[in-house]
């Protein structure tokens, strides 16, 4: 039996045992599942995706009726997940940056206030926060007829927030082109300024210039194209508002809770990023005679970003995953409508859970792909 002492032989043996055990487990589960499905008379396969769902969905970015198929239910759910994630990520980035900077402020009271915010909301389950917004704060809004109204065009009541909706007439395309052009020009300005900085050491106000371009160009296009954007205002008709853009309490509760909760982690990531920059770097910048702003912009931030961005991106992913908690309040995203309602209607748990998990897995893979790309790009280039 001396061959058993060989590391290679043992490695192969261990792996064989693993494969056999794993294979046996899979077979056992498959066998049981097949039997159970047959015994309970559950259908199997993915045909149900083409059957009409028979239930309605309150919020849908695409046309949807009770006659729509389960595949369309899936699409509605996915779109709603992506919509809430998009809004959530944008808003939580802004709030998180704000809180993170406040946390590092030299002003004692500002810094303490930010720290209190972080410690409070980070340690309370996000599901509790969602329910609090939904059942306590938004439920306490006035009824439709007593809506809070701003400029007669924005209304807030129990049924959500009603905003004017822009309607793009013919010619709006020029505004879009102007926005794209502004980004392209901005990119060239950035390149040119960087080159000039490296060659001559002269700085150029890139951010201000680009911001100005981004505002002025589309505005110019708007007026030159003859003001092609109209607004449709929400109007009180009977018991509810009609027209305009509506954000339901479900959407808002989920959004607020996710933004407030995730911002605490983003603030901490930003703080630890800035604190991770070696003190010597700041001192060296000062010794070179850089001003405080210059030292922050040219020395501290580029290094802080390298540390801060990876945890921030994984927080974005957490936000996307946490949006599935909408199931508790009924915002119709992927888990609520597909893994919830569709599953109850069809009973095809195995297929539906597999599709749902697969979808989230795809999103996670895309996000980690971006993360890896970023890490590679930001890696310190050593000789």
């Amino acid at each position: 039996m001396s061959f058993l002492r060989d590391e290679k032989v043992r490695g192969i043996l261990y792996q064989l045992i693993t494969i056999v055990a794993f294979g046996a487990l899979v077979l056992y589960i498959a066998h049981n599942t097949a039997q159970n499905i047959e015994a309970r008379g559950i259908k199997s396969g993915f045909d149900f995706l083409n059957n009409s769902s028979g239930f309605d969905i309150t919020e849908s970015p695409i046309p949807y009726t009770t006659k729509s198929t389960h595949w369309e239910v899936f699409k509605v759910g996915l779109y709603n997940t992506l919509i809430i994630s998009f809004f959530g990520i944008v808003l939580t980035s802004i709030l998180g940056l704000f809180i993170g900077v406040a946390r590092l402020s030299s002003n004692w009271i500002v810094s303490r206030l930010a720290a209190t915010y972080i410690e409070t909301f980070r340690n309370i389950p996000v599901l509790l926060q969602i329910l609090f917004w939904y059942n306590v704060v938004l439920a306490a809004m006035p009824s439709v007829r007593q809506s809070y109204s701003f400029f007669d065009s924005i209304f807030i009541n129990q049924r959500g927030i009603f905003l004017p909706k822009p309607i793009f007439q013919e010619g709006s395309i020029y505004i879009g082109i102007a926005v794209v052009a502004a980004f392209v020009i901005g990119w060239f300005v950035h390149k040119w300024a960087k080159k000039r900085l490296e060659e001559t050491g002269k700085e150029f106000p890139v951010i201000t210039t680009n911001l100005a371009i981004l505002i002025i160009l589309p505005l110019l296009a708007y007026f030159l194209a003859g003001k092609p954007v109209d607004f449709e205002y929400p109007v009180l008709k009977g018991f509810n508002f009609e027209g305009g853009k509506t954000y339901t309490p479900e959407f808002l509760a989920l959004l607020f809770a996710l933004v407030i909760y995730t911002a605490t982690f983003i603030a901490e990531a930003i703080r630890s990023g800035i604190e991770a920059v070696n003190k010597g770097q700041k001192e060296a910048a000062m010794a070179l005679g850089l001003s405080k702003t210059q030292s922050l912009k040219l020395v501290v931030l580029p290094q802080a970003i390298r540390v801060a961005i990876p945890p921030i991106i994984s927080q974005y992913l957490n936000l996307i995953k946490n949006s599935s908690l909408a199931a508790a309040i009924g915002y119709p995203e992927l888990v609520t409508v597909f893994a919830g309602t569709s599953l109850n209607v069809t009973g095809q748990a195995l297929e539906i859970i597999a599709i749902t998990m697969g979808t989230y897995l795809m999103i996670s893979l895309i996000v980690s792909f971006i993360l890896n790309w970023f890490n590679k790009k930001m890696k310190i280039k050593e000789r």
Binding site: Y14, A328, A349
Partner: protein
């Protein structure tokens, strides 16, 4: 002869200590700083007085029924009357001592695990024994204890049960997965990576759904788990992937020389892991592990969605009582406070450990 006149003494330098200096330096050092101070004070002004008024000044503390809540503020009478529901759920009144004893044992275990002077063997033993003792205490069935079905467990008790089982049961699986991921054997490595990345890529709620609707299909007819067991399986499987990643971080922090030294001593793989690598890796990983435990503790609230009566569910349940309609706010605030205290204590503990580890590495 030149006449020297005594010049007036210079002003003393501005004091660099004391309240006035502190306020000047930290609150009023520049115009923008002054503005921010004023803004912050304003924020405090709009938040704190109304909250204090609601929670204390206008609140009702005495009484036994809804009618006793007359003020505009919070009705803490509601919390006091429903306290048993919040803490034990539907656990039978006469058997509450068992729940109390369990929680007390849990507290003792936590203290033992956190104290430095306690030998490691006692720590590990107490952590392993706790779930077994707790199960027989809560469930009963031996020593003449009446059986209390798990669907009667609820409130904070259930939350703690789920969190404890999640932490204790996921740990060995997580360690094995981490070892698998570091392994040189390609098949074991691939399986481990596949499992870890699959679980980390999906939300917990989908894993819980899977555990509650798909898992029963995996077992032969007649094998049935109750709802709680399904949730525990789901949470453990989920948590194991995160524990594995924490432990892997620990592995990576260990210098290669440690592995080589263990090999040079002729230790087998398992000896090397058990005696050299794991003790060091786990020590390094503890702050991050506590971080994952905090997430787990918060995530236990998700079992509400699959129909268990945990602490968070109790808010809805108690506020739907016909005699006490509409006290969600008090319920949510109270429950939030409980979650907060547990999580805050854990995060402080992890911070302290981290600082300690940092100084250890510096010498």
């Amino acid at each position: 002869m030149a006449v020297y006149e005594l010049k007036a003494a210079k002003e003393p330098p501005i004091k660099e200590s004391g309240v006035v200096y502190w306020v000047r330096k930290n609150l009023l050092s520049s115009p923008s700083n002054i503005l921010m101070t004023i803004l912050s004070l304003y924020i405090l002004y709009i938040i704190i007085p109304p909250f204090v008024k609601w929670a204390f000044l206008d609140a009702n503390f005495v009484g036994h029924t809804k009618a006793d809540c007359t003020g505009d503020g919070a009705c803490w009478v509601f919390i006091r009357e429903k306290l048993k529901m919040f803490i034990y759920g539907f656990y039978p009144e006469s058997e509450l001592w068992r729940a109390n004893l369990t929680m007390a044992l849990g507290a003792v275990t936590v203290v033992l695990a956190a104290l430095e002077r306690v030998p490691r063997s006692i720590k590990i033993a107490s952590i392993l024994i706790l779930p077994i003792v707790a199960f027989f205490l809560l469930y009963g069935g031996i020593f003449g204890l009446e059986i209390v079905q798990p669907n009667k467990w609820g409130g904070l008790l259930l939350t703690l049960v789920i969190a404890t089982v999640g932490i204790v049961a996921s740990f060995p699986i997580g360690v094995l997965l981490a070892m698998g991921r570091q392994s040189k054997l390609p098949i074991i490595k691939t399986l481990s990576i596949f499992y870890i990345e699959l679980i980390r890529g999906v939300p917990l709620i989908t894993v819980l759904f899977m555990a509650s609707v798909v898992l029963p299909l995996f077992f032969p007819e007649g094998v049935d788990f109750n709802k709680l067991a399904r949730a525990l399986i789901g949470i453990t499987l989920f948590q194991a992937a995160y524990v594995a990643e924490n432990i892997r971080g620990g592995f990576q922090a260990i210098p290669k020389g440690q592995y080589e030294a263990a090999d040079a001593l002729g230790l087998s793989y398992w000896q090397k892991m058990r005696l050299i690598i794991l003790p060091q890796a786990i020590k390094v990983a503890i702050p991050n592990l506590v971080g994952t435990f905090i997430s787990l503790f918060k995530d236990t609230s998700l079992v509400m969605i699959i129909g268990l009566f945990d602490l968070l569910t109790m808010v809805k349940l108690t506020a739907n009582d016909r005699d006490w309609l509409g006290f969600d706010t008090e319920g949510y605030v109270f429950v939030a406070l409980i979650y907060w205290m547990f999580n805050f204590a854990m995060s402080r503990y992890s911070k302290r450990l981290e600082d300690k580890l940092n100084t250890n590495n510096r010498d």
